[in-house]
């Protein structure tokens, strides 16, 4: 009995296939599908290539320089020939100084702008300002670096003459410029997060007699916090990886300075890579491999930040649906 029915259904299915199935094997369809899959898979190949091109020279670098000296050494003098020192700390500290200063500018300005755009701005103003911020996000970093060196730096010297401006370069100026650069990113991403907070939460708060500022700060802000944190993490990652601004405006002095000496010149990891690779150094030398070791460290740092940001963004997107 059961064998009969299964036979019948199999026969029915096969006759249906004869009627509606494709009349040719459609190799073209398969070829297109394969080509598209290759396009998508290319991203994996790119990542693999990045990792390989970072790791292989790094291994030969760490054959010459012990990894402990690299990570914890405080002298970064890769060009001193026999006396070369490869302690990465000065340029890591330089990078972090720029990041901290830029975040001190970008996070308050970006978040307050986002609150205004999401909660206070009339719709018409928002329709103008949001695209304007997106356009400003596309300003090339060379332009920002030039602006920092030739405009912000002299301006700061006029406004704050009591600070010791010894060189044309200053870590503080570079940090402020990087901060200005990432404000649109912070504002745009956290505004999206705040707008994703459902209106019923706001209405509930208003019904309890809250003022508008209280609703914004105590209801919407905490509800959107994972998106806001994601925006800040993304901004940090962007600031770590920023090259041209620091290359132009922060100088090239790999030194560890206390964070309040904002008028000193420093070097960052990206600026080191950018300035060294443009000079003529022999392929395969320790100096050459040092670029890749620093690049690996940079890659790992930004990778961790991006993973955190992606996870947080996913959480705020799914939170209220």
């Amino acid at each position: 009995m059961s064998a009969n029915t299964s036979d019948a259904s199999a026969a029915g299915a096969s006759s249906a296939r004869r009627l509606l199935g494709a009349s040719s094997p459609r190799y073209g369809e398969k070829a297109i599908r394969a080509f598209l899959a290759v396009c998508a898979g290319l991203s994996i190949a790119v990542t693999t290539a990045i990792v390989v091109s970072l790791v292989v020279p790094s291994i030969s670098f760490f054959g010459e320089v012990p990894i402990r000296d690299f990570l914890f050494g405080t002298g970064w003098f890769p060009d001193f020939g026999a006396d070369a020192q490869f302690g990465v700390l000065p340029i890591v500290v330089g990078t972090l100084t720029v990041v901290v200063i830029s975040l001190l500018v970008a996070i308050p300005v970006g978040l307050l702008s986002a609150i205004y755009l999401a909660e206070y701005a009339p719709p018409r103003l928002r329709r103008i300002v949001k695209p304007a911020l997106e356009v400003l996000e596309g300003i090339p970093t060379v332009a920002i670096g030039l602006f920092a060196l030739l405009f912000l730096r002299p301006l700061a010297e006029t406004l704050l003459p009591f600070l010791p401006w010894r060189t044309p370069f200053a870590v503080g100026i570079a940090g402020v410029a990087v901060g200005l650069m990432i404000v649109p990113l912070v504002a745009s991403v956290s505004e999206d997060a705040m707008r994703a907070v459902p209106g019923t939460l706001r209405e509930g708060a208003y019904a309890l007699g809250s003022t508008k500022s209280r609703v914004s700060l105590r209801v919407v802000f905490p509800a959107a916090i994972s998106g806001i944190v994601a925006a800040c993490v993304l901004a940090t990652s962007r600031a770590i990886g920023e090259t041209m601004v620091v290359l132009i405006a922060a100088g090239a002095t790999p030194q560890i300075i206390p964070p309040w000496e904002v008028t000193e010149s420093i070097q960052t990891m990206t600026a080191y890579i950018g300035s060294t690779a443009t000079g003529d150094i022999a392929t395969g030398s320790t100096q050459y491999d040092a670029i890749f070791a620093v690049g690996s460290l940079l890659f790992v740092m930004t990778l961790i930040m991006n993973m955190i940001a992606i996870r947080l963004v996913r959480r705020f997107r799914e939170a209220y649906e």
Partner: protein
């Protein structure tokens, strides 16, 4: 449109609710505390100040470059070759040609590959499979990799190493294409996802194959979105200098570059090499280059955003 209406009715409801709640609180607790009323004025003022600071800072960049570079905005800027010695007459000609070469290479690479990857991920990929999830996560991650790391990739893999193209414009094209590819893929995916399934179902029901459905229905419907993504990606590639420092774009080129041999330079890198020279005239020249670049980029970005708003279709 639907969200707009919802917004209106919601704010109407909100106003009613607030008025009711205020009356209730007032009758129970008396007048609003003075701090709250003061905060209600100061807080929005602070917010506006922040927004003004953000927009003002970036607007002053535009104004500054205009004022600073204006003296050198002459035809020679476009027609003369770069020079280390004569900043008064030096121009950007070879850098502009180099940019054209590099960017046409970028466009030729990112359009087929980016759209292809997006079509695969949206139309073919089974989201449950681990490798498809890996590709998605990987693309998101690549979008956040610092550009100078792509420069390292270009140096080790494309200029030297396996591809061995040498330090030519084509190397710059490939490097920048890989850098902006995630942007194109993400934008194209959004555009393809916005085409409703009913369009596909209708096409398939009429006997079209999967690829016919995609090529004749889905892709034409998503062209504005894809184009927006491509323009934004190209705008980013034009302004990008850091990765090109590593793949040879810093050479001083005084002859017209060719795509596959000889040195090349591009506009942002040429601006950088002028900017780090000590003479004052070179700074003016650099600022003039910034104007050229900003005008091109702002036009492209605004066009992309206009395109998105104009063709954003709700099915």
């Amino acid at each position: 449109m639907a969200t707009e209406e919802k917004h209106v009715s919601r704010s109407g409801r909100t106003r009613l609710a607030v008025a009711g709640a205020r009356t209730a609180t007032r009758s129970a607790f008396g007048e609003t505390p003075r701090g709250d009323r003061l905060g209600g004025v100061l807080f929005p003022a602070l917010l506006l100040l922040a927004l003004a600071f953000a927009l003002g800072g970036l607007a002053s960049l535009l104004v500054w470059s205009l004022v600073e570079g204006f003296p050198r905005l002459d035809p020679e800027l476009f027609t003369n070759n770069p020079s280390r010695l004569f900043p008064e007459t030096a121009g950007y000609r070879t850098a502009l040609i180099g940019t054209l070469y590099v960017i046409s290479g970028v466009i030729m690479l990112i359009v087929p590959i980016g759209v292809g990857a997006a079509v695969y991920l949206e139309e073919y990929a089974d989201k449950q499979r681990w490798y498809n999830r890996l590709i998605e996560l990987n693309i998101q991650n690549l979008a956040g990799v610092p550009s100078i790391v792509f420069g390292i990739l270009g140096l080790a893999f494309i200029a030297r190493g396996p591809l061995n193209l040498g330090f030519v414009a084509a190397t710059g094209s490939v490097t920048l294409a890989l850098l902006v590819l995630p942007t194109v893929i993400l934008a194209a995916r959004e555009a393809i996802r916005a085409v409703p399934p009913s369009i596909r179902e209708a096409s398939l029901a009429l006997g079209a194959t999967r690829w016919q459905t995609i090529a004749r229905q889905v892709l034409p419907a998503s062209i504005p979105g894809i184009l927006t993504g491509v323009i934004l990606a190209v705008a980013r590639a034009i302004g990008e200098a850091a990765p090109l420092l590593l793949v040879g774009a810093v050479t001083f080129v005084t002859f017209n570059p060719a795509p596959f041999n000889g040195g090349y330079s591009v506009l942002p890198v040429q601006i950088y090499t002028y900017a780090v020279r000590p003479q004052e005239e070179f700074k003016v020249l650099a600022a003039a280059g910034v104007i050229v670049m900003l005008v091109a980029l702002l036009a492209m970005n605004s066009f992309a955003i206009w395109l998105r708003n104009r063709y954003e279709r709700r099915w």
